[in-house]
Each structure stands twice: as C-alpha cells, then as structure tokens.
Symmetry: C2
C-alpha cells in the first residue's frame, strides 16, 4: 500500500503518514498538494495525506478547495505536534548564519526566535524539509533551515537550536484521503465532514446550522470559501460529531439536503488522536 | 490627509485608496500589511487601507488577525474590479519572456493564460506592482510582470497581453481603517463587522447566529480564525447588515454580548460600491 504526501522526505506530512499508518505502508513524496489528490483519484496511490488546519496558522484553504474539486473520501484524520528546529551543515555555527530557508509558515511560527537573531535573510521555499535538503545539497556554509528533527536525521544536519516555535500549542491536523469511503464501526467515535452552499437569503446559514443544533449534534468546525464566478457567495465546510450510522445525524443530513442548493458528504471517519512524532534513523 | 497602503506605487491597494478617497488624500506606500495598522494606530497616518477578501482567492486571513490585534475602527469599504496585464520593457516581446514576476495570487488568477505559454519560470514577489518595478529597475530583457494597467503607466512598461485573468468575476474588497469610528448617518445603508469567541459547547455558534436570525438581520459574511494557544478553538468574524443606530441591531449586539466570552465591534460603515479603476498618467 502507498500513501502520497506533499514535500520532501522528512516533511511533517510524511511524519503524520508514518504515525497514522504505523509505518506499514510506503509514503511517497509528490511536488504539489493537488498531486496528492490526483494520484489517489487515478488509482496510482492507495491513500493520500494532506494538512488541513494548523492550530496557529488556521485552515489550509487551498486544500478545502481541492476537497471539493476532487471526488475522494476522507477516511481518517491525525493531529501532529509540530516542533521546529534550526538546522545547518556540520561545522556551521549560529555565528555563520546569514540566510535561513523555510516554508513561510515556518518563519511565521518562529517569529520571536528570529527577532533575536541579527536579521538573517529569510528565504521562503515550498516546505520545511525542502529547506533542509537545499542547505545539504548545496553544502551551504552561511545558511540554516527551519525544519523538523526528522529532517536533521534524514539529511545528516546539525541542530543549532531546538523547539524554536513561539507557541508550544502548535498542532497540525491532517486528513487521510481514499477512493473508497471508510466503513464505519459503531463502536468508534466518529466525525463527519460535509460541504454545502445555500440560497442567498437572510437567515440561510442559521437555518443550515439549525439542522444540527435542533438535534444536539456538536459542530466541530466551520469554514467558508468563495464560490468562483459568484462574487461574495460562499461554500460552507462543516465538521460535526457522529456519522450517518447514528439516526440524529442521518436525519440532520437529510434535513440539510432539503434546504441547501448543493450538499456533499466529504467523509465520515474515526476521530483522530494527537501524535508526538518519533524521530528515527532510517 | 494621508492613507497608508501596502505595496509599491500602482498596487491594487493604492488604486482602491484613490477610488475611495477620490484622489483628494495622499496615498503612502508601506512594506507590510501590519505597517498599515501600526501607522494609523500611532497617528502617523490618518487612514489605512487593506485588502480583506477576493472573490476568487477568498479571505486574506492575516488581515483578520491584525484587525483583532490592533485597536482601530473600520470606517468604510470599497470593492475593486481586478484586471491583470502582462507587462514588459519596451522592445521585449512575448517571444523573449523566460521569467514572469508577480504576487502568488497574480499567478493563481492567470493559470489558464500561463498554461498556454512555453513554461516560463514563475518568480513570486510581495505584490504585483513590485513585479513591475523589478523588471523596470533592472531593465530585464527576458522577463515580464503580471500587474495592473496602472503599473504599466507608472513604470512606463509595454502591455504584452491584457485582461489575462481566468475568471472575469475578479473583485477585491478593501477596508478603510481609522483611529476614530465612522459617525453614521441614518440615511446611508450601513454594515457592521464584529468579532467574538464562544464557550466551547454544542450549539454555541448556532446560538451566536440566532441573535441575528431571530431579528431578521442579514448575515453577509462569516469567517473563523484560530485562537492562539487554544488549539481548535476559534474567533468568529461576522459582517451583518445595518448598525447599532437601528434598534434590532442594537438589541442583537446586546444579546450577542450576553452569550459570548469575548465580543468587539470592529466598525460600522456605509456599504461599499464596486469601482472599476481609472488608469491615469501621473
């Protein structure tokens, strides 16, 4: 079995895939988030993993758009504790560092630490593991990368500083994607993700949410995204507790379909656990 | 009177400021969005203008965060039609173009046009006007910029292709910021923006929205952002029709304050118009 993830070896998406699948399946790197979706859709990969939300940065909106554009099912989720490390080639000390590579979110998450340095140049790259790969491949002696501890091991880099993120409550939620829906067992705590659009009228969203509130169903997340070609109309993405196996949830979804213009269940899946990544030589 | 905008001369934010203030006030360029907020907060500038939402790309979430972090009032809004142009130095033809500079959103908005070119290198910069400035300042002969028509005039560049955006329904909404609230006149159609957080309990958001629905107040926009340090709790940003000058709206806000943990009115302001930028030699 193979799982597609975006980024280089050592990327947080790969660490999340390893935690979720327990290392039994092979994680395969792709260049773009959308490649994760198309790889699974075309049957080249059995599963895909994408980041959907970070506790500091918020939702990864592009991936919400892709969920709508591609015909896949969410079959699981996992929460990964994110810790950032400043990495450099052997022999390089903090004193030599004039440039730092990372993903823009990496810089954003380590602002306080970066403010304490003598203004190095910050160079954005496509993901934090790519930053580690660049300084290694090019043997850079004046540069460092903000990346994961796993990248330090994978690219044989030195750790200049550890846990440099401003806020320790730094958690990313990842979704598992598959062509086939998850076959839910009633014994597991489940969650359902749904996307819908409403008639453009007063009270429409309130009415949409009422189908859950009236049945005491817990709403876990709401996100809105623009409808292309219809300025300032929105698609709403909701996560709620339970699944269609439960009668109130089944009724709520039927009720929702009555009052929406468009409605699609993106997936029903077991509530994810919080994983602290294990770093391993490999 | 001065208005701070982010980006180089010719940026869409500057065009929006000119449309909003009718060219009577001086628009002053700053480097970062946050500089717009701090400039107004410290009294260096009378007004600030920020993009908050694009009809294709969605909300500019960072600016929602800054609205919460800074103690300013929204006093107005304007919607600007966005058109993208491919610009180059005099003498450069499409045939010479190996590299294209723009803001990532500029590339995103012109995907179909870009797919028709023989894969030029795409180089992201901080805003579309900066892209025009770079090719001009460095006299680049193998490069083009995706930018505004105003940037073509300001930097004396040649237009290689016009209106290259995929979707013509491309509109950005801008907010006007000031230290003092807008003094509303009852004769104008008004809108109010509010931010709040809720107790983490089932039905909380439904209850929050009910204060508007029960009074037939139209909700125009909802956006959620993470609360830092409290993983997977959210701040909600709502825009609704009317202002506290209207009794139902005043009652709804009082009701909202009863049931929220935190609640702040970000501003009440006249509903904005849609402007098509005028391009002028200056």
């Amino acid at each position: 079995m193979t799982i597609a993830f975006q980024g280089e070896r050592g990327a947080f998406s790969e660490l999340a895939a390893i935690e979720y699948f327990g290392g039994k399946h092979k994680a395969v790197s792709v260049a773009q988030w959308e490649d994760v979706f198309t790889g699974v859709e075309k049957g080249k990969r059995d599963f895909g993993i994408i980041p959907i939300e970070n506790s500091l940065g918020g939702s990864i909106h592009k991936n919400y758009d892709y969920l709508l554009q591609h015909d896949l099912h969410i079959t699981g989720e996992i929460y990964l504790k994110i810790s950032q490390f400043l990495l450099a080639n052997k022999g390089v000390t903090l004193h030599h560092v004039r440039r730092i590579f990372s993903h823009p979110q990496g810089f954003e998450q380590c602002r306080i630490y970066l403010d304490g340095l003598p203004s190095p140049e910050l160079l954005p790259v496509s993901n934090t593991a790519a930053a580690a790969k660049i300084i290694k491949d090019q043997c850079l002696q004046d540069a460092a990368a903000i990346s994961s501890m796993q990248a330090a091991i994978d690219y044989d880099l030195r750790v200049l500083a550890r846990n440099i993120e401003d806020n320790k409550e730094n958690i990313t939620r990842f979704l598992i994607l598959s062509k086939k829906p998850f076959r839910p067992a009633t014994t597991t705590a489940m969650k359902t993700s749904v996307v819908f659009s409403l008639k453009n009228m007063a009270g429409a969203l309130f009415r949409g949410l009422s189908v859950f509130a009236l049945r005491d169903i817990d709403l876990l997340k709401i996100e809105s995204r623009p409808v292309k070609g219809k300025p300032f109309e929105y698609m709403f993405y909701l996560d709620f507790a339970g699944s269609e196996l439960d009668t109130p949830q089944r009724n709520a979804l039927n009720h929702l379909r009555e009052i929406t213009v468009f409605c699609r269940v993106l997936g029903a899946y077991p509530v994810g656990r919080l994983a602290h990544p294990e770093y391993k030589k490999r």
